[in-house]
């Protein structure tokens, strides 16, 4: 099968996601990058499920549901930050600076 292609795709998606999380300044884009990471994992789950039965697909469904919840919370946070600071630039959120 084409397992390694899928794994490669997932690795690329994952790396793009990590890149986005680290580099993007826009809070929404950071959240979107996290989605990329999650979906990279989902691809792995589904790809491996051809070998080890359908439980991988079930996990992928769970991951999708949880990702939806996570994005709900994340967007709410971003919205509140925007209301309070009129900006969603994550670089400005450094109040925990030691």
């Amino acid at each position: 099968m084409l397992l390694n292609q899928f794994l490669l795709l997932s690795a690329i998606l994952f790396s793009i996601g990590v890149y986005g999380v680290i580099v993007r300044r826009n809070g929404v884009l950071v959240l979107m990058s996290i989605e990329l990471i999650l979906n990279a994992v989902n691809i792995n789950f589904v790809a491996f499920s051809t070998y080890w039965g359908p439980s991988g697909q079930v996990f992928a469904l769970f991951a999708i549901a949880i990702a939806a919840a996570e994005v709900g919370v994340g967007l709410a946070i971003v919205l509140l930050i925007y209301r309070n600071r009129r900006s969603i630039n994550v670089d400005e959120l450094d109040e925990l600076k030691g």
């Binding site: 680290i22 450094d94 600076k97």
Partner: protein, 720 residues
């Protein structure tokens, strides 16, 4: 017909869930804004639960010889599967009956929820006397609260939304009491919590209300941790089974070790403390009065707070064995309950808000139930839950009716008074419910409270109980005295004297008074269900016969007999409470007590402690939260400044000193370089450490991913 209701009891929560959805989706289009949907469904649910109760009673009466787990499908319970296998192997299936003679036979039904590697998780219903009793109580109280609400919250800005959540609240509680496994119980437990959060904060535009809702929710989270841990312990202890039946059978038969059961029951007690408002996690309950009054009635009588009591009762073998209730004289459950019963009652004396008096009264009465469970008087606890539901709902709805008349104020000291004449129905029902709560013969509360006191086994002549809980008996009697006194106080402030509020009060309409009258009737007669004497139709100890489980899934309890002297003593104590309050308020007697707090420093101190609710709120918000916010943050900063910087600086300084010593003693040219290098290294290390604390999440993320990458590399090299 008999089995149909017991097998299909899932319809009840499903109906209420359907009611919730239809009100939410279509409620606003209905002519009465959705309340007719809620009342329609809850009335059906009430009728169905009466039929279910009838089926259960005929099932208990049916004396035919049956295997104890005949109506428990094998895929729902490991124990039932075991029995079935034994029966198929030629042994007689009556194995479970051995040594028990008569046994009540719970009806279990389940479907597979989902399969996982360890087996399947089921969802279903487990019906026995206890859950049937709760079905009737929950649906009846909910029905009356629905009717009451149509008048009470009339014209509210979120009228439809309010009724939708009443339905969901009822559905959650029905789901909880029918739960067949512990996982389902947790779901129901949390659903009830969410609904109470939504309803307490119904008028969330005002900050105190949304604060109260949050407080209720967050305080419950504390106990929920205990619930989760306890249920996980039980899951593994019962050989990886969530089934309530399995857990109970294994715990009762001693197949689960005492230590495990003790750990599980202590964790679950934490959950009871938060849900059922026991000391020291009771602080949310009085604040929850911020919600609409009918909701308070529902929370206090039938749904939210009794969930904790019900959970203990449902998993009773765990507590009975884990805490060694039988033959003992003290245990954690009884202590928590007795402390709550007494100290909650004391708090009610200093409240001027009538609803808060009732809230502390609930705290105290729940303490009675928990103590009773802790003393092994299971039936007494459930019976008290049953009678308490009626008179407490009556009191709360009565308080709602009062505030309806008194300009929506609940302040009985400043805004009420003299309402006896203008509100005769509210007055009479309130007095009846008060007498029931105080435990005056022959009202309902007298019988259930008396059973609890007898269940302590400490009074001479009640040796038939499971232990001798002398301390609990004394504390409960003191609690009963206080109960009678503070309830008389509320009657004085609300109904006697002159009207102190604004406007002209008037009696409430029929949609408010009819539920009050119905509840008052129950507050009078509910005691007949468990009379010690043989009454026509109902018989002696009917409640015990039909509600208390017998068999392998329940410890074999012994019951204290009704004791006339103890009954007289408890009656005298209650009358003394009423009498003391009567003398104090009506007659102005006990003059030395009037204004005692102003003259005596000790009394002033005592009153101050009560007014500040034993400083629990202060402890939580100022001490604990304050400690985490203030000193802990400061301590972290101090550690950073002194220890980490100190180490860095110390290394630098040490290096410099060493350098100087070497400079002085050894050849300068060789040493200079070393000194500088170590000094620079040390300060660079300090600089690097400081850069790490940038406060930028993305930088942390980058470090995190880098660390993962490095660790993965190491892992691959080492393993691969």
């Amino acid at each position: 017909m008999g089995m149909w209701f017991l097998d299909n009891v899932w319809i009840l929560p499903a109906l209420m869930g359907l009611s919730f959805l239809s009100i939410l989706l279509f409620g606003k289009r209905f002519p009465r804004k959705g309340h007719e949907i809620g009342i329609f469904f809850v009335a059906i649910a009430f009728v169905l639960s009466l039929f279910t109760a009838g089926s259960w009673i005929s099932r208990v009466n049916d004396d035919g010889h049956h295997a104890a787990f005949a109506d428990v499908p094998a895929h729902c319970s490991g124990v039932a599967a075991h029995h079935e296998a034994a029966a198929a192997g030629g042994e007689h299936a009556a194995a479970a009956d051995d040594g028990h003679g008569a046994a009540t036979r719970p009806v279990v039904n389940c479907a597979t929820w989902f399969d996982s590697g360890q087996g399947s998780v089921t969802i279903g219903t487990m019906v026995d006397g206890q859950s049937v009793m709760m079905l009737v109580v929950v649906t009846l109280i909910s029905l009356l609260v629905h009717i009451f609400s149509t008048d009470y919250v009339h014209g509210d800005r979120r009228y439809t939304h309010y009724f939708a959540f009443l339905s969901l609240f009822t559905a959650s509680m029905l789901f909880f009491v029918l739960a067949e496994n512990t996982l389902q119980m947790i779901v129901g437990w949390e659903l009830v919590g969410v609904c109470s959060f939504a309803l307490i904060g119904h008028w969330w535009e005002e900050k105190p209300n949304s604060d109260a809702a949050l407080k209720a929710f967050l305080t419950n989270r504390v106990g929920d941790v205990g619930l989760l841990i306890g249920m996980i312990i039980l899951y593994f202890a019962a050989d990886r089974s969530f089934s309530v039946l399995d857990i109970n059978v294994l715990a009762a038969s001693g197949e689960i070790g005492r230590g495990l059961l003790l750990a599980a029951s202590l964790c679950l007690i934490a959950a009871v403390m938060s849900k059922s408002g026991q000391f020291i996690l009771h602080t949310w309950l009085p604040d929850a009065m911020a919600g609409p009054t009918p909701v308070s009635a529902l929370i206090h009588a039938a749904t939210m707070v009794v969930a904790g009591i019900y959970m203990v009762a449902r998993l009773y073998p765990v507590f009975f064995e884990g805490l060694s209730i039988s033959g003992s004289s003290i245990n954690a459950l009884a202590v928590v309950g007795a402390v709550t019963a007494l100290f909650g009652a004391l708090l009610a004396f200093v409240q001027s808000d009538i609803k808060k008096v009732l809230a502390y009264s609930t705290v105290s009465q729940l303490g009675f139930m928990v103590t009773s469970l802790g003393m092994g008087a299971w039936t007494a606890a459930m019976f008290h839950l049953f009678t308490h539901a009626f008179f407490k709902a009556c009191l709360f709805l009565g308080a709602g009716s009062l505030s309806h008349a008194a300009n929506h104020s609940f302040d009985m000291v400043n805004d009420m008074g003299g309402l006896k004449k203008v509100m005769p129905i509210t007055y009479r029902t309130y007095v009846i419910a008060t007498l029931a709560l105080a435990g005056i013969f022959p009202f309902a509360g007298f019988w259930s409270k008396d059973e609890i006191l007898a269940g302590s086994g400490a009074f001479p002549g009640t040796e038939g109980a499971n232990g001798t809980y002398t301390l609990m008996l004394v504390m409960l009697l003191l609690g009963a005295f206080c109960t009678a006194a503070y309830m008389t106080r509320t009657i004085w402030y609300a109904f006697e004297g002159e009207y102190r509020g604004k406007g002209h009060p008037h009696e409430s309409g029929p949609r408010i008074t009819v539920p009050l009258v119905i509840l008052a009737v129950f507050a009078v007669i509910a005691g007949v269900f468990n009379l010690p004497w043989d009454v026509p139709v109902i018989g002696a100890h009917a409640f015990q016969t039909y509600v208390e489980p017998i068999g392998a899934y329940f410890p074999s309890l012994s019951h204290a007999e009704f004791h006339p002297v103890l009954a007289v003593v408890s009656l005298v104590v209650a009358l003394a409470g009423i009498g003391a309050a009567y003398l104090y308020y009506w007659k102005g007697a006990l003059a030395p007590l009037q204004g005692l707090a102003e003259r005596n420093r000790l009394a002033a101190w005592g009153k101050n402690v009560l007014v500040n609710k034993y400083y629990f709120d202060w402890l939580y918000t100022t001490v604990i939260t304050g400690f985490i916010k203030g000193p802990l943050a400061r301590a972290a900063n101090w550690t950073n400044q002194h220890i980490i910087d100190g180490i860095v600086n110390g290394v630098g300084r040490g290096a410099a000193t060493t350098g100087r010593w070497v400079y002085d003693n050894v050849d300068q040219t060789v040493v200079d370089g070393a000194v500088n290098t170590s000094g620079v290294t040390a300060s660079a290390a300090g600089g690097v450490l400081r850069v790490l604390q940038s406060g930028r999440v993305q930088q942390y993320a980058a470090l995190f991913f880098a660390a993962v990458a490095v660790l993965t590399g190491v892992f691959v090299v080492v393993i691969g």
